[in-house]
């Protein structure tokens, strides 16, 4: 077990810098998830922690050791790859015991550790099989077992669930969570799926364009996104954005409607009001005129796609069943205390009063 500190880490391929100085503190025993769209640098950062990519600048510290110049085998980490990377010519037991064999651990001890891990992951009956005889979910478990037997100070996961089907993914999310609780190890996990991030993480790092955009607990990030990118990336369906203007402590939408929020007098000019779909409700007395485009019942809730009078596409999510025709003119209301405000130019969050 160890804490991980990432200090002003940069990565450049020639003149092309892909990570622009990232700072992250990963507390000992925490489950930290790096989330972001493809190409945001999250996998590169993870590979730098693993020692599979050179660090162009800055420091990666595992425990209390700067590991920049320490090779992967000496970093005391384990990693689970997206494509599992199981050794195809070895059995499940040999795959899981490989690192221990390399470390010259006595045979009997390897066997005990492998058996324990296999039992924990429900792999006992597959120990003598080759990976190609296993299903995707089982291969995933073997990859995890290979990491567990090492008892490393840090676990690294590179999109480990993205090759699984939706049902399996949901199940593995729960298992990973309980595995983390049981082992209590530091885990760093990369995904592009914000649901995985929200459901599993103690700490989320939202990344985009080579920057860590926001770091925090899942619900803190959900409730107080620091900029437009984080606001749009976290949460599904995504947050609605309405163009507005701020003046004299008041905010007006482009159609002139006054928004029920107060801001500092110093805030002037173009702003963007953000409202999550579940905070936008159908209400005959609502301030927002909308025209329904599509109604999508999911069973537990109803998703409504609509267009505002100002021509902006918005989404509403309601727990009620709605039977509105496409093209119907309705009114919607927002929960005033759940609104978000962003500067249109800097895209940063503006605190309301």
């Amino acid at each position: 077990m160890a804490q991980v500190k990432i200090a002003q880490v940069r990565k450049a391929y020639g003149d092309n810098e892909v990570l622009h100085g990232v700072d992250i503190d990963i507390p000992d025993g925490s489950f930290t998830i790096l989330v972001g769209p493809s190409g945001c640098g999250k996998s590169t950062l993870l590979r730098m922690i693993a020692g599979l990519e050179a660090i162009s600048d800055g420091e990666v510290i595992i425990g209390d050791k700067v590991v920049n110049d320490i090779s992967s085998p000496e970093r005391d980490i384990a990693m689970v790859f997206q494509n599992y990377a199981l050794y195809p010519h070895l059995t499940v037991a040999q795959n899981m015991g490989f690192s221990l064999k390399v470390a010259k651990v006595p045979k009997a001890e390897i066997e005990t550790k492998v058996k324990d891990a296999a039992k924990m992951l429900g792999l006992t009956e597959y120990l003598n099989r080759r990976p190609q005889k296993l299903s995707g979910g089982q291969r995933q478990r073997v990859a995890m077992g290979r990491a567990i037997v090492r008892d490393p100070s840090v676990f690294l996961f590179d999109e480990p669930l993205s090759n699984l089907d939706a049902k399996m993914r949901g199940q593995m999310r729960t298992e990973l969570r309980s595995m983390h609780r049981r082992l209590g190890s530091t885990m760093i996990y990369v995904t592009h799926d914000q649901i995985e991030a929200m459901t599993m993480a103690d700490q989320i790092v939202v990344m985009n364009g080579g920057y860590a955009q926001q770091i925090g607990a899942p619900l803190d990030i959900y409730d107080r996104p620091q900029n437009l990118f984080v606001a749009s990336f976290i949460g599904a369906p995504a947050m609605n954005f309405l163009k507005a203007k701020a003046e004299g402590g008041q905010v007006h939408l482009t159609d002139g409607t006054l928004v029920d929020m107060k801001v500092s007098d110093t805030v002037t000019g173009d702003v963007i009001v953000g409202v999550r779909p579940e905070h936008l409700t159908l209400d005959p007395n609502g301030a927002l005129q909308i025209t329904v485009d599509e109604v999508e019942p999911t069973g537990s809730e109803t998703h409504i796609s609509a267009t505002t009078a100002a021509g902006i596409a918005v989404k509403l999510v309601t727990a009620e069943r709605v039977s509105a025709e496409s093209g119907a003119a309705l009114k919607a209301a927002y929960q005033a205390d759940k609104l978000h405000l962003f500067d249109a130019e800097t895209t940063n969050r503006i605190e309301t009063l």
Binding site: G51, S71, P73, A85, S99, Q132
Partner: protein
């Protein structure tokens, strides 16, 4: 597959035509070999007796004899075949390892001049041997290896084409497999030996056979580089049957028959693995 689904089976003429053509091609390819083998069983005086007018006995000997084979025992041929086998097997075993190691470096490491170096490797595979035989002779001579087994083995260890084959295979293996090995604490040498090599056995087989056959049928270089009688290889020994005074056709045929069988043996043995590999690659 049942007969009814085979294309052409419901059109007997087409079916017949196709098989006739295939048989004709097969006979065309095999007839000289068969004739060589049958002639090796002819007594010397019968060798050309039926050559001028074509008859059944042009192909099938009138009398069968093993004298051409037993006579070989008195010549340098047994020793030569032993030499050839020794050279071919040693080159094969060491060569596969050397070429695989070079290819692994080309496939996995990023080092200066990797591109130009690999181009050089490819050039060695494309260069006709005759073009380099003189400088190679001078080099091997300068190293003091002329007229030794080393002269016949060392220059043949590195094989540009085998390196290319291994490199393509190693490069196609997902990089994560090597990275997983790194994370698991293994050194690169260990990854090469315990991960890369074991998964690449189809290439090891192909490369082995290629090196073996190349060395077993080598003629020109051994003729130049190892003139001593005790280092004579099979191909050179066979050629000794033809001289200015005349040719010993019987022993020429018998020794060639033996060499053909020995050269084909590893291929026939490994072929089963080949087929199995191709068949299982579809399942994944």
């Amino acid at each position: 597959m049942s007969d009814t689904t085979r294309p052409g089976s419901n059109r007997p003429i087409l079916h017949f035509g196709r098989y006739t053509l295939m048989w004709a091609l097969a006979v065309l390819a095999l007839a000289p070999l068969l004739w060589m083998f049958l002639s090796s069983l002819r007594p010397t005086q019968e060798m050309f007796a039926h050559a001028s007018s074509f008859s059944w006995h042009t192909i099938w000997p009138e009398t069968f004899t093993f004298q051409n084979y037993t006579a070989l025992l008195e010549t340098g041929f047994p020793r030569a075949i032993g030499n050839s086998l020794f050279i071919a097997v040693v080159t094969m075993v060491v060569g596969v390892f050397v070429n695989a190691a070079a290819a692994f470096a080309f496939a996995t490491f990023d080092f200066r001049f990797r591109g130009p170096l690999f181009l050089l490797v490819l050039l060695t595979a494309m260069m006709p041997f005759e073009a380099i035989v003189l400088p190679l002779y001078m080099l091997v001579n300068a190293l003091g290896m002329i007229d030794s087994y080393s002269a016949l083995i060392v220059p043949e260890l590195a094989n540009g084409f085998v390196i290319l084959m291994f490199r393509q295979f190693f490069a196609a293996i997902p990089r994560e497999l090597y990275e997983a090995g790194r994370i698991d604490g293994a050194s690169w040498l260990r990854i090469f030996l315990t991960i890369a090599l074991p998964v690449s056995w189809p290439v090891i087989l192909t490369g082995s056979i290629m090196i073996f056959i190349t060395q077993f049928e080598a003629f020109f270089w051994p003729l130049v580089a190892a003139p001593s009688a005790e280092l004579t290889v099979a191909q050179v020994e066979i050629a000794k049957n033809i001289s200015l005074e005349g040719a010993n056709w019987g022993q020429l045929f018998s020794s060639m028959s033996i060499v053909c069988v020995v050269a084909a043996l590893p291929f026939l043995v490994f072929q089963r693995f080949y087929i199995r590999n191709v068949a299982s690659s579809g399942i994944k």
